[in-house]
């Protein structure tokens, strides 16, 4: 761990983070990259030090891969020239003075439970690089389809762990996200994913249900036999993987045999009317599953809001007929559900993609990639709701007030979880990398 900037890591907008490092070293972590179990232990220790108030906090990120059209959803410009404004009309919400797109009617009726940041932006218009930037807080220098920097869910898993033992800390539903991985934090913080669609009637998590020929009795007998057979010493490796595996075996047995995890993933237990309310489609049921998971002790869930947001052609028909109805219904139902259950201070819901879309409409009636301005939706998490934050210019091309970077968006999320975004990790090249290298929580949201 080369400490290149002197005796501690400092950036202009950060405090030194020696204490974190010492904590880390005290539990005997290794110097480089793959920080496995010790990191988790440290996360638990940090949570303890932070007090129990943040203990149950969790995040659901609805990830709109491809880039949702901000100018057609939350930042309409009815007075812009026709080649910009498009065919959608704004409608009023239940918050005086805030209007959103006409194809988000359910959210409009309850916008006091949402806040939208209209002035988020960055500068990279590539899917891979933009996604990595929004999901990690770091702009990668090369276009790759794998994480160079750890996704925020992995960071949360490393620093906080799950809210309930026996549950995974970080899940992707329904499938693993390409850029949702742990990079130099080590594979242990990669997301757990059901690898199966919760909208399917036969939905079940991959390898969590007992295999057909096996019953709990036999699994327990195997477990006992394993205790007798697996006697090799636990200190023969140097990275703590054996101890880490022992922990995963305990977690796995608990998940498989304990009602809790099975119940969390068992979406069939939901009232059919509620399932209907979320929408009987991939997105709706994934949002419902995400709510079940955070209720059961998962700390961070990324919901894949399906493909298709990359509307280079036929933007309006795609949005109107396919994308927005499902999105509006699922997110409205999710946020409503969270309020009904009194979880609005514990669960943060966010919706965003890697960038916005070109305000100027292209010849295929589509909109192209546009990182210059984008809208990010927030709900719950104990944040200030009922706001439209920041403004863009008359064509929704660039922020005109409150320009917020990816680091601002993500640090707001870390803030709700009680995570210090100046905490420093080290990559394989031993470069010190703070959780975020820029950005401060959005003041209007954290109040």
């Amino acid at each position: 761990m080369f400490d290149i900037l002197g005796s501690s890591i400092q950036t202009c907008d950060s405090k030194p983070s020696r204490v974190d490092r010492r904590n880390f070293l005290r539990v005997g972590g290794l110097a480089v990259g793959g920080l496995t179990l010790p990191n988790l232990l440290r996360g638990e220790a940090m949570a303890k030090e932070a007090g129990t108030s943040a203990k149950r906090k969790s995040v659901i990120l609805v990830w709109q891969a491809g880039g949702p059209s901000h100018i057609d959803m939350y930042d309409l410009k009815p007075t812009a020239p026709a080649e910009y404004r498009g065919e959608f009309k704004p409608i009023p919400t239940n918050v005086p003075g805030i209007e959103i797109g006409e194809h988000l009617p359910l959210q409009a009726t309850m916008f006091d439970k949402f806040s939208v940041v209209r002035s988020a932006f960055h500068t990279n218009a590539g899917h891979g690089m933009g996604s990595q930037w929004m999901l990690t807080g770091y702009q990668p220098t090369i276009e790759v389809n794998d994480n160079i920097y750890p996704s925020c869910g992995s960071v949360v898993a490393a620093l906080r762990g799950p809210n309930e033992p026996g549950m995974p800390a970080y899940c992707n539903v329904p499938n693993r996200l390409d850029l949702g991985k742990a990079a130099y934090l080590g594979a242990s913080y990669n997301p757990f994913s059901p690898d199966s669609n919760p909208n399917d009637n036969g939905f079940q998590v991959r390898n969590m249900k007992l295999p057909g020929n096996l019953n709990v009795n036999r699994l327990e007998r195997r477990q006992q036999l394993l205790g007798q057979v697996d006697t090799i010493r636990r200190d023969i490796d140097t990275k703590g993987d054996i101890v880490g595996l022992d922990k995963f075996y305990r977690d796995a047995f608990e998940m498989v045999t304990n009602e809790k995890a099975l119940r969390a993933f068992d979406i069939h237990k939901e009232d059919p009317r509620l399932r209907e309310k979320y929408g009987r489609n991939d997105l709706g049921q994934s949002c419902l599953l995400a709510r079940r998971l955070v209720e059961s002790g998962v700390t961070y869930v990324t919901v894949q809001a399906g493909g298709g947001w990359d509307t280079h052609g036929n933007n309006f028909a795609e949005l109107k007929n396919r994308l927005l109805p499902a999105f509006d219904r699922a997110v409205a139902a999710l946020v409503d559900d969270i309020y009904v259950r009194g979880l609005q201070d514990e669960v943060l819901v966010m919706a965003m993609g890697e960038f916005g879309r070109t305000p100027r409409i292209n010849p295929q009636a589509g909109r192209d990639h546009w990182p210059g301005a984008m809208s990010v939706l927030f709900a719950g998490g104990g944040l200030q709701m009922g706001q439209a934050i920041g403004t863009t210019d008359s064509k929704a091309e660039y922020p005109t007030s409150k320009p917020y970077t990816p680091g601002c968006v993500l640090s707001t999320m870390y803030h709700t979880l009680g995570i210090d975004h100046h905490h420093v990790f080290y990559d394989q090249g031993r470069r010190p990398l703070p959780v975020l290298n820029e950005g401060q929580p959005i003041a209007e949201l954290i109040g």
């Binding site: 761990m1 080369f2 400490d3 290149i4 900037l5 002197g6 400092q10 950036t11 202009c12 950060s14 490092r21 070293l25 290794l30 110097a31 480089v32 990259g33 793959g34 496995t36 220098t141 090369i142 276009e143 790759v144 389809n145 080590g186 594979a187 242990s188 757990f192 994913s193 690898d195 390898n207 969590m208 295999p211 057909g212 020929n213 036999r218 195997r222 036999l225 057979v229 697996d230 090799i232 200190d235 023969i236 490796d237 140097t238 990275k239 993987d241 054996i242 880490g244 595996l245 995963f248 075996y249 977690d251 796995a252 047995f253 998940m255 498989v256 394989q428 090249g429 031993r430 290298n437």
Partner: protein
């Protein structure tokens, strides 16, 4: 000689005060000469070889000529001769100091004196003004790689307020730096200190740009370079800088310090090292004007050992490893037993488990040379080239993307063939770096093709990392902060690829070396065409007929090349011993020292002396006693993680784990478009769908870094092994091992023995045999009980780990 850079402090003389009773007091240097007002000197005092610099007291007989502070740091104030008295524990000595040329007023040089301060105070770091868009409109080059840019930024931009010659104290550089006006970076610079005064006098003198040909630092030296320390012991360090004009200066107070392992040793801003309780090794790094140096601090486990009675060296690897253990007081673990050796060597050489028959034959062989015979048998088998082709294919990005399906098979086969024929390593590298032609004739061109979107930079970075052990990517944009390599070095290496051309047809298209430069990109600072330059400095020129890529390989393979041979032996070491002598295996920068430099040097020399014979090196390693140690730690070596006094166990790589499960269960998956007997280690590229391989993190082949392959544990891996239909199916399959054993009407003890041999490559102990037979025979469904037993063996750490 430029008078501003005087030679000071001759090190050859050492004051020595000794008597028969008293401890030995040494002061270094014994006398000092200062030839300008800016020279400084850190004295180093030791008693009986232990540092006492901070314990001694110092007195200048005339502080108006030379003053000395409590840490033994000398500053001249006027011409003259003075004695400094050094006292400790009733002993004393004097150090004469001669000051001449004090009146030689010099201008402060921007490049060599102001720029280092911007680095030292973190102004140009990546979090502050060094980041791409600067900070609050003030931008500096990252870590000060572009002196000209920084000078303009300070002197010409910011409406002239950053540097005000008429009123230096009103310069924003000083006001902000000292926190006298609000500064996001806080207070960095104390008024009245030497750095403040230096900047002040530079501004006062008109803030001049650097004169051309100002001597620059060519080398740093830390004194001492290595120390064995006790807990809480301190060691003052002195840093000497050598300049291009041959002069030397003490830069102890100007240089920056850091430690790579602060649990073992920490270092203060003025070079005082303090060793901590935990044992191990730390590298103290110092950095000044783009040069770096290290001092190794050893905190031994115990008292040094005179001999290692239970350790019988087989070859020079063992001798050199043992030298280090003795120094550190590390007792090696016992040698591993036969089944462990066979399993370990078969996994590491062939990427598979021993078969039941192989294990049985080896374990019942009573020959004393059976381990050596096993090594030769494994090295001669087709599994050795298969496994190493997989390893190379991963870091050489062999993928079937962009139409390269057939090319990826061809490249894989080429790698396998080169390994099988044990072609010399330089020839192997030439076949890749200088590959030309159509893919069918030169399949290694897929290495270039898979980098097609950013070919020049990706290939340059991979060449450095894969073959030279240098991670030069950082130097593309800025001076590498941990290395001496500059942006010019990076672009010099890139220059060997600027005549690489490819045709506009075919996937991959044919590659060739063009007589002309094929790329439009220019050097980002100079704006000139990118020219080839060897990493150790020499500019290369080529005729249009010559292929620069061949010249690059010629340079790599020269005996005096400091990177090539070392990188490969370190990579092999990492493969067999679980961790490189330098860690990570492809990060051989100067500031990342080998845990055993003598051993690494000896291996590199052996490799060169044997004409880059890879099998010879592997044989030496696998035959060594060091490789054949048990993985169980002793109390003495438990904490050590880098000196190989025991074998470091590790999880099986994804492909090996996959094949091991199939070999043990006797159930074989078929991969599409591969022959029926192809295993996961035989796959030519990464795009064969497999939940197992993905879950165990096979590399995506998008990086030249071995670190892309992760062997850390995940919950999904555990669920897959412990609770999946996939595994249950393999246990129960009617053509798999268990079914066949029942068909053959084996007795329970025979079944147990075979399952232990198939998974752990050993016979069960009597206790294990009785536990397992009892478990099976008590069950009303013995076949299910056997499945339970095999499940249990597969889910044991003894199975999943190479130990």
């Amino acid at each position: 000689m430029n008078s501003r850079f005087a030679t000071i402090g001759f090190l050859v003389f050492t004051a020595l005060v000794a008597s028969s009773q008293a401890a030995e007091l040494r002061v270094e240097p014994a006398r000092v000469e200062f030839t300008d007002a800016f020279a400084r000197r850190q004295l180093l005092v030791s008693v009986d070889g232990r540092d006492a610099t901070r314990k001694a007291t110092y007195q200048s007989r005339n502080p108006e000529i030379v003053s000395v502070d409590p840490s033994g740091y000398l500053v001249p104030h006027a011409n003259g001769l003075v004695e400094i008295e050094v006292k400790i524990g009733g002993q004393s000595t004097v150090v004469p100091v001669q000051v001449t040329g004090f009146e030689n007023i010099r201008t402060v040089d921007f490049a060599t004196e102001i720029e280092p301060l911007l680095s030292r105070f973190g102004c140009n770091s990546g979090g502050c003004h060094g980041k791409a868009r600067g900070q609050n409109g003030f931008k500096l080059s990252l870590f000060g790689f572009d002196t000209e840019f920084d000078y303009q930024s300070l002197v010409s931009e910011g409406r002239g307020r950053r540097v005000m010659v008429s009123a230096p104290d009103k310069s924003l550089l000083l006001l902000k730096g000292a926190g006298l006006v609000p500064h996001g970076g806080g207070r960095r610079l104390e008024p009245g200190t030497e750095p403040y005064r230096l900047i002040h006098s530079w501004i006062q003198a008109g803030a001049p740009a650097s004169a051309p040909n100002v001597p620059h630092v060519v080398k740093l030296r830390m004194i001492p370079g290595e120390r064995v320390m006790e807990a809480n012991e301190q060691q003052q360090i002195a840093v000497m800088a050598e300049y291009s004009d041959g002069s030397r200066r003490d830069v102890t107070r100007e240089a920056q310090y850091s430690t790579n392992l602060d649990v073992v040793a920490v270092v203060s801003d003025d070079g005082l090292v303090t060793a901590n309780e935990p044992t191990g090794e730390a590298a103290i790094m110092t950095r000044y004007m783009g040069q770096v140096a290290i001092c190794r601090i050893l905190r031994p486990q115990g008292a040094p050992l005179a001999s290692l009675p239970n350790f019988k060296p087989r070859n020079f690897i063992d001798q050199l490893a043992a030298e280090k253990w003795k120094k550190l007081g590390l007792k090696p673990s016992n040698g591993c037993d036969d089944p462990t050796f066979l399993r370990r060597a078969t996994i590491d050489l062939c990427g598979r488990l021993p078969t039941v028959d192989e294990a049985r034959a080896f374990l019942t062989d009573s020959g004393t040379d059976k381990r050596d015979r096993a090594i030769e048998r494994l090295l001669a088998s087709p599994d050795y080239p298969a496994y190493f082709a997989l390893k190379w294919g991963s870091i050489l990005r062999n993928s079937n993307l962009a139409g390269a399906d057939r090319a990826s098979y061809a490249f894989h086969n080429w790698l396998k063939d080169m390994v099988a024929r044990n072609r010399p390593y330089d020839e192997f590298v030439r076949g890749i770096v200088a590959a030309s032609g159509e893919w069918a004739d030169a399949p290694a061109i897929n290495w270039f093709w898979q980098s097609r979107d950013d070919q020049l930079h990706q290939v340059t970075a991979d060449t450095a990392q894969v073959f030279l052990g240098l991670r030069l990517q950082c130097a593309k944009c800025h001076h590498h902060p941990y290395e001496r390599f500059t942006q010019d070095d990076y672009y010099g290496l890139a220059g060997f690829y600027t005549r690489l051309g490819r045709k506009s047809f075919g996937e991959p298209p044919p590659y060739f070396t063009s007589p002309n430069v094929t790329i439009g990109e220019r050097h980002p600072v100079t704006g000139k065409q990118i020219e080839p330059k060897y990493l150790d400095g020499a500019v290369a020129t080529f005729t249009p007929e010559e292929d620069p890529r061949h010249a690059l390989v010629d340079w790599m393979a020269k005996p005096e090349n400091p990177f090539f041979s070392k990188t490969m032996v370190n990579r092999l070491w990492g493969h067999f011993y679980g961790r490189g002598l330098v860690h990570e295996v492809d990060d051989l920068r100067e500031t990342n020292p080998a845990s055993n430099p003598e051993l690494l040097d000896a291996l590199a020399k052996e490799f060169r002396d044997h004409k880059f014979d890879v099998k010879h090196m592997i044989r030496l390693m696998v035959q060594s006693q060091t490789y054949q140690l048990a993985s169980e730690p002793t109390d003495e070596n438990r904490k050590d993680q880098q000196n190989f006094a025991r074998f470091f166990a590790r999880r099986l790589p994804a492909e090996v784990a996959h094949d091991a499960v199939e070999q043990a269960t006797g159930f074989k998956t078929n991969f599409s478009n591969m022959s029926a007997d192809s295993r996961a280690i035989d796959l030519p590229h990464e795009r064969f769908g497999s939940y197992f391989l993905d879950t165990f993190d096979r590399p995506k082949r998008v990086s030249g870094c071995e670190c892309e392959r992760s062997t850390s544990a995940t919950l999904s891996q555990v669920l897959l092994l412990a609770n999946s239909d996939e595994l249950e199916g393999k246990l129960q399959n009617g053509n798999a091992r268990i079914a066949k054993m029942f068909e053959a009407k084996r007795t329970t003890p025979q079944i147990v023995e075979e399952l232990y041999l198939a998974t752990f490559s050993r016979f069960p102990t009597p206790a294990e045999l009785s536990t397992a037979t009892g478990y099976i025979d008590r069950d009303a469904e013995p076949r299910k009980a056997v499945e339970d037993l095999l499940w249990t063996l597969l889910n044991s750490r003894e199975f999943l780990f190479n130990h």
